[in-house]
Homo-oligomer: 382 residues x 2
């Protein structure tokens, strides 16, 4: 007995989609290209499960995404499990437990699906989100930050994504400037919102003695060299200066490994970085506001330095050029199987007739084939 | 506040596992090989979501697995969703709705994860189960049955799985013999259990006038040609004879497409076939009791003929030989990046030092590298 309206069988819950041909293939193929590039740099693949006990999945760095997790009960143990809203905390768990004894630097990669309750992240209507990424666990250095960025950039280049840009930030820099101001909680929140909106007038009103510095940092955002020069020129207290110097060192290390990469720096950006402790990065493609990926430095399982980056294959395959689809060859009923195999080994797709047809060319056309096999040859379909 | 015992962070719910290196890579790579073979035969990839509304996911052929599905509530609509316990019903939904207008035969492939509540299927302790398969929708013919078997066999050959055997059955044959006997429900259940156990004495006791025929069929199970000869010799009523003839025609059609394939036939096997309407198949590898895959003929969305086969990549990668892992090359700090790229393009993995080391050979050995790069050469590690 239900009072729901009659349901179209095509209707999926909001945020869940069917990928059809050729999108499903493009996304799967693109993901494997990413993982192949990661693997080439020594990032070895792990595959944690879709579900874990919530008290394991949603602690440590996982706590930041706990409000986005679907829960369900394990009927065996009556304990609550959660569908993973993010894979990075699972990699951190694996690094801290089963791979605790593996040598560092520990390089891991992964690809899989995550599910979020939704409604939380602006502009994000998808609730099943693919992730494919890397984690570099152990070292805390500009060279480690740079490796993660460079490997990610190489993966995007392999996919042919045009106009890639990596936007670096140091999300603890702004809080370090604000924490010493003695602001009320309400004023602090107002100021953070003003910084998020890049509203210089409001920053001037609420930031007290830090106003000049924060406004200087606001206007510093942009191309990396100019932004770092503006940071150099700004008057920063010691803690903020240390963050700024690390950001600068990481940018320089990226320049060494990937001299051609387009880098921008926004020293005031902090939104969406929940558990990060160092340089963070967001990846964009020219002409799209959609994030292709993001990552940064954090403490793996609350105690080991780590830096990672996660791509969203769903966004990536919208930005990457499509590969040409292979030709389809129609095989009339009874076509020699060795010939058919040779056609496939030549990189073409075969579509076998399952019964005789009087007009194989028509049948081939109906099935989107551009060739028909006849007497050991491939005849193009007009 | 919780009364649960203290939790080791490594503890996952029963039936869920972390795949570590090299297993995660082997399973992902094997799955992509399967999908590449499927794609070569014109099976185009689709990717339905992990979650659907339960009244969409668990109807039609999905009803057979409804008791294995985890449910959760969509907070937006307050409607119940289910985590998919099987992908085939989703493919049937797509074929009947979004691809309703696509030409038939419709050839679709898929790979993804399913989650079952567990405890239901004997010997099956996993609760997250990967599936990778094909569906051939539209035709109902021995040639269609044969294509599904042959494409699956080619995929296993590509993976190098040794000693593959396809066990064919016709799960409606035995019910057609029993339904006319006028047995009580209890006797029918007892008889079905006896057939399932292949207990000829019990079959003789409970099968009434069908006893001789059923015992003949029990002993027919085995190598395909012998089994079909025994079926020919058996005395079958018209309906059972029609099922038997179709099974024979499908075996003959497989022989045409895949003459070398090892085929067995068990005409009495019906266990585990819940929504199937025609020839069904189970795939085994020599020396393993574990099913590599299974499939068969059914009605897609209750009205369109379809035949499919689903592999379990988790079982497959236990049966398939492991590919050699690529050599790992240690790159001392500051190694030329063009040289490093050439090493990767040669099929080797590079592991970059993130800081200078006095003894790079030791560091290389510690990181499981078999070469160290020096002056543009690769030096083997002793």
């Amino acid at each position: 007995m239900t009072f729901d309206p009659p349901l179209s069988p095509a209707l999926l819950p909001a945020g869940f989609v069917d990928l059809l041909p050729p999108d499903a293939e493009a996304e799967a193929e693109g993901t494997e290209i990413l993982l192949a590039v990661f693997g080439g740099h020594g990032y070895e693949r792990v595959a944690p499960p879709l579900l874990e006990f919530e008290d394991s999945l949603l602690t440590a760095s996982g706590a930041a995404v706990a409000d986005q997790a679907f829960r369900l009960m394990d009927p065996d143990t009556r304990r609550m499990m959660a569908l993973r809203p993010d894979i990075t905390p699972q990699i951190a768990r694996i690094a801290a437990t089963r791979l605790d004894g593996a040598p560092r630097p520990l390089r891991l990669s992964y690809a899989g699906q995550t599910v979020v309750v939704g409604g939380g992240v602006a502009g994000q209507s998808e609730r099943q989100i693919g992730q494919a990424g890397i984690e570099l666990i152990g070292p805390d250095s500009p060279a480690a930050d740079a490796e993660v960025v460079s490997v990610a950039a190489e993966a995007l280049a392999r996919l042919g994504v045009p106009g890639v840009s990596f936007d670096l930030t140091m999300p603890l820099l702004v809080p370090s400037l604000i924490d010493g101001l003695g602001l009320s909680a309400a004023t602090r929140t107002t100021l953070m919102h003003a910084l998020d909106r890049k509203d210089a007038a409001a920053v001037a009103r609420y930031a007290g003695s830090a106003a000049d510095t924060l406004i200087a940092l606001l206007s510093a955002a942009g191309e990396a060299d100019q932004a770092l020069a503006a940071l150099d020129a700004a008057s920063l207290p010691a803690t903020a200066r240390a963050y700024s110097e690390r950001l600068k060192a990481s940018v320089e290390a990226v320049r060494v490994r990937s001299p051609e990469l387009r880098l921008t720096v926004d020293p005031v950006e902090f939104r969406g970085w929940k558990y990060h402790t160092g340089v963070c990065v967001t990846v964009y493609a020219a002409g799209s506001r959609e994030e292709l990926g993001r990552g940064g430095r954090y403490l793996c399982n609350d105690n080991e330095p780590a830096c990672g980056l996660t791509f969203r294959p769903g966004a990536l395959f919208r930005a990457a050029p499509r590969r040409a689809r292979p030709d389809r060859v129609y095989l009339p009923f009874g076509t020699d199987s060795a010939f058919a195999q040779a056609v496939r080994e030549g990189g073409r797709v075969t579509v076998a007739a399952l019964e005789p047809h009087d007009r194989p060319e028509e049948e081939a056309r109906r099935l989107s084939c551009s060739y028909v096999a006849r007497d050991g040859n491939l005849l193009p379909i007009a």
